[in-house]
Assembly symmetry: C2
Homo-oligomer: 648 residues x 2
Amino acid sequence: MANVKRKLRVRFSPDNVDITVPEGWSLLKAALSAGVHINAACGGNGVCGTCKVLIRKGEVESTRSDKLSAEEYQQGYRLACQSRVLSDLVVDIPVESRLETAVLSREMKMATAEAKAAELVATGWGFNPPLSKCYVELVPPTIRNNVSDLSRLLRGLKRRCNISNVSVDFDVVGNLPQVLRKKGGQVTVSTLVKAVKTKADKRKPTVIKVEAGNTAQKHYSLAFDIGTTTVSGQLLDLNRGRVLAEGMAYNGQRSYGADVITRIGYSQTPGGLKRLQQAVVTTINQIIDELVSQSQVEIRHIGHMIVAGNPTMAHILLGLDPKYLRLAPYTPVASFIPPIKARSLGIRVGKHVYLFTFPSVASYVGGDIVSGVVGVGLHQRKELTLYMDIGTNGEVVVGNADWMVTASCSAGPAFEGGGIKHGMIATKGAIQDFDIDPATLELTLHTIGGEKPRGICGSGLINTIAGLLEAGVIGQNGKFNADLKTSRIRKGGDGYEYVLAWAGETETGLDIVITEVDIDNLIRAKAAMYAGCQTLTKSVGLKLSDLEQVIIAGAFGSHIDIERSITIGLLPDMRQDRFIFVGNGSLTGARLTSFSTDLLDDARKVAMMMTNLELSERVDFMNNYVAALFLPHTHTEEFPSVARRLAG
Amino acid sequence: MANVKRKLRVRFSPDNVDITVPEGWSLLKAALSAGVHINAACGGNGVCGTCKVLIRKGEVESTRSDKLSAEEYQQGYRLACQSRVLSDLVVDIPVESRLETAVLSREMKMATAEAKAAELVATGWGFNPPLSKCYVELVPPTIRNNVSDLSRLLRGLKRRCNISNVSVDFDVVGNLPQVLRKKGGQVTVSTLVKAVKTKADKRKPTVIKVEAGNTAQKHYSLAFDIGTTTVSGQLLDLNRGRVLAEGMAYNGQRSYGADVITRIGYSQTPGGLKRLQQAVVTTINQIIDELVSQSQVEIRHIGHMIVAGNPTMAHILLGLDPKYLRLAPYTPVASFIPPIKARSLGIRVGKHVYLFTFPSVASYVGGDIVSGVVGVGLHQRKELTLYMDIGTNGEVVVGNADWMVTASCSAGPAFEGGGIKHGMIATKGAIQDFDIDPATLELTLHTIGGEKPRGICGSGLINTIAGLLEAGVIGQNGKFNADLKTSRIRKGGDGYEYVLAWAGETETGLDIVITEVDIDNLIRAKAAMYAGCQTLTKSVGLKLSDLEQVIIAGAFGSHIDIERSITIGLLPDMRQDRFIFVGNGSLTGARLTSFSTDLLDDARKVAMMMTNLELSERVDFMNNYVAALFLPHTHTEEFPSVARRLAG
């Protein structure tokens, strides 16, 4: 890599999150890259003064700001956005500057944070979760002031928390007399902003729960990404802007088909829609059980749920008929779906919990991409950016803060280990990386958690196939070179296959192999993604080389290796510093909007500003797709660096 | 009576409603008295020109208005508010001037409309029901315009009916794909203004139902008054502002106690609240069955339900614990209750139907009085007015457009025939009036529907006891004069009793009697009402004689005879032209607010402006009550006209 700057270590306390960054990075950028969220309301321009940090050890180069008093400056306070890293540091984030000290998704923790992590998420948002808790001590009723229990509550809410102009769920009213009297008028009120609005001052919260006593400290919510193949969830602490636990599981609907088209087909059989709905609800409930058990949070203290999913997943979860999603002219039932009680879908949370689904753009471009765009702050960026959400229902966006076009390209489940002989979800024991000795063709495998291999995850598949291609074990057509002298290549039930791990080395006691069918599935998946990016970019009169930034998202593996993804032709052949890998972008969006009503409002704007391109209606997409069914591509000139490497 | 003016007959077409009114009445007043509602936005001041009518036959004296063109004037158009009746008339109400051609409640139809009917209801409101239906023809989706079904619907709603900024019930979304495609995009959308607002432009309707095809003509709602003793309901045509059917039944909760205190007591027993709720819901369902069968309207076309009831009735209906209503400091659970799906209470209407309950003022002053005040337009009147809602849970209001005080006085069920040996609801066969020959003491009975007597209703009881008092059959202490030579007075199980109808004359084949216990019950009921009026009026520094107008409401009989009500001391001894009888005022309010969101908003204002007086906390109320336990009153000087009559 071209980057020759010194690497310096920054430790953020009180959470003791470490990151290694190049010399000269801003502290704000370092914090964001480490998943440590600092309040930076102005977006890092040094104007608002909210990103104040205390330098405990080490040296920064800092522009002096009038937002800091002389005394603060003396003590070592600096604005994170105006400070550059000059040495190893220990930085204290004062409570008023902290937003979300995210224990970032497992993928990020495991990634070597040095170079790949970057401006990962949206910035400049206020910490104002749609769900609030307010502790109120009500004055007792008297004969002179015997207003109703509800009026007394609302007056208290206004006096104590300045919340007025609320709606009230009828369920709240039912047990008010008991709740208000149980602890002498001490109650905690949960209010939720249910509807996204174009203006913050139009927000009208709804009182969804009243509890006796002070439970304000127990204030949690759920963020979920419902993928076609994988479902991921996080349990969030809404007081401290923190991820308390996270979980991931295969979508139970996989038994009814690998992709959305098959699932829609199944939904049209008698009872099919209901069965699909129950399958994903079961998966969600399993993940909730796991989150609750990891965190020791009681389910009754979970008060909100934000879900991102592609249109088919959202329709099925909500019990809406997805039939017309796959019939031209491809219309969803609704793009903006009213919030619904999660319990009514069978999700095992309190009966006061509303489930919010992200607005979608079109039949195959859904709330997951809107969530991802908001999560990574694409709608705030000036640079011309390509956002790729790599998954079974792959989605791509091109644009910036001013405009966005988007398209969906059905890649199939290969990236998530689906349809792969020994494919698996990216959890412990998944082969995620791979080194091969070019001389002996012998292997070193790297598994998640360092455990005995159990299978291969999406990113592992990319790395492995790229490595085998470079080592000449497979040809550019995706077929094995059967002439090679290695016992690892052999004939199996699906044609030739390659033994990644011998039975004696594996957890399962069986050989783990990659078959030519597996390779073919991956080639078709990467071809769909690449052709989608090409076609979408061209549709707005641009070339891939015009892109200033490529953000890669996906729930498909521990992390993605940029070079190897270029090698197989999944990513365009560009300078590596233009790529940013953000992990599960949809989940990030669901998490950040759980922390910020501002971002929830942004989601509405993003969904409305996006223009959708129906790839299935375009001849050039088909041509691009066919041309991409090769490693890396039929047109070698599009991948000059790969051509050089393969030649060498 | 003092009125010697000629009586003239006015027929209003196209509904052919007749009314006889004194010469010189304004046409607007005549129309209102006949239950024919004319748009009169300015309140009858000749300013707005909305009350335009066409004089088809007969003569009026009319102030010429610049709101009428010369051509219109030539054709015979006049402003109803500016025209006085000079002869028998036939008056056409053009469609643009019509508001609500109410077939008024049965009570009103049966009353001889001549003198007693008057300014019965609120005026000056716009016909804008909270529930709207809008027929929309949607453009089919195309590949260039493949927005979601919901977006297409909302665009159509905006284009066709100029309704935007709506919320959408999730239930609506579920079957959109089918409904939108069933008749090629022809749909009818029901929208409901759920929340009362202080400003009309803040109203945000909710889409509650979408039907295939054009069902805009089938547009109905329900208005209910839930009394402690009697439940009354009307089925309303929301297109034509008309009552299509009405029904009345005893509240099924009567089996659990006669008054609200007993019912609250019962609600505290295990399962008691649930049983009380089911009892009233059963009554409501019976009435709905009757309304539907009378009108041949299909239940699925009923889209809304507005209910007025006292706080105890409202709490129990909604399943809210009424416990603290009767414990000092007497706090309701809620005064403003969020709308709730009627089906969730067990009411057998469509699942899209919301039930709206009127806001209440205090623990014993409820939505029924707010509804009544709005219904009779007390909040629009300049005159100092006393509003009496005579019933089991009697309520009184003193005030005008600028201020109002209110109190509740538990009268017991006597006025509704409850706790009376042969008491019955005011339906067919109820003795409602009575003539007695002073010489022979023989009787002529008048029953509702002219049928054989089955019992005696509340108004019949008042008339009978007043007549017996004047005839000297009972004394001012409510005891029978046993010395009289008539076989009608005899000793029964409850002490002395008086035979109103002999077994051979009755439907039941049994003697119908009035007992001394019955008389005592009525005396205590009227004493509570009268003492309530006295105490409330005095609490604001006024005397009963200061009142300019007394509006009498109640579900208790066919109509009330003012003179006889004064005779027994129920009403203050005032000139009869100050009294207005409006029948069931709460039901009127529920009906009119079903027709006008403006009035629904007014209800909120009225509930907020009313000041409640807790009579049970006042010593003078008890003194007034005890003094009133006599016919007409211990202090004869308060009833000079009665004293003269009884002396004569």
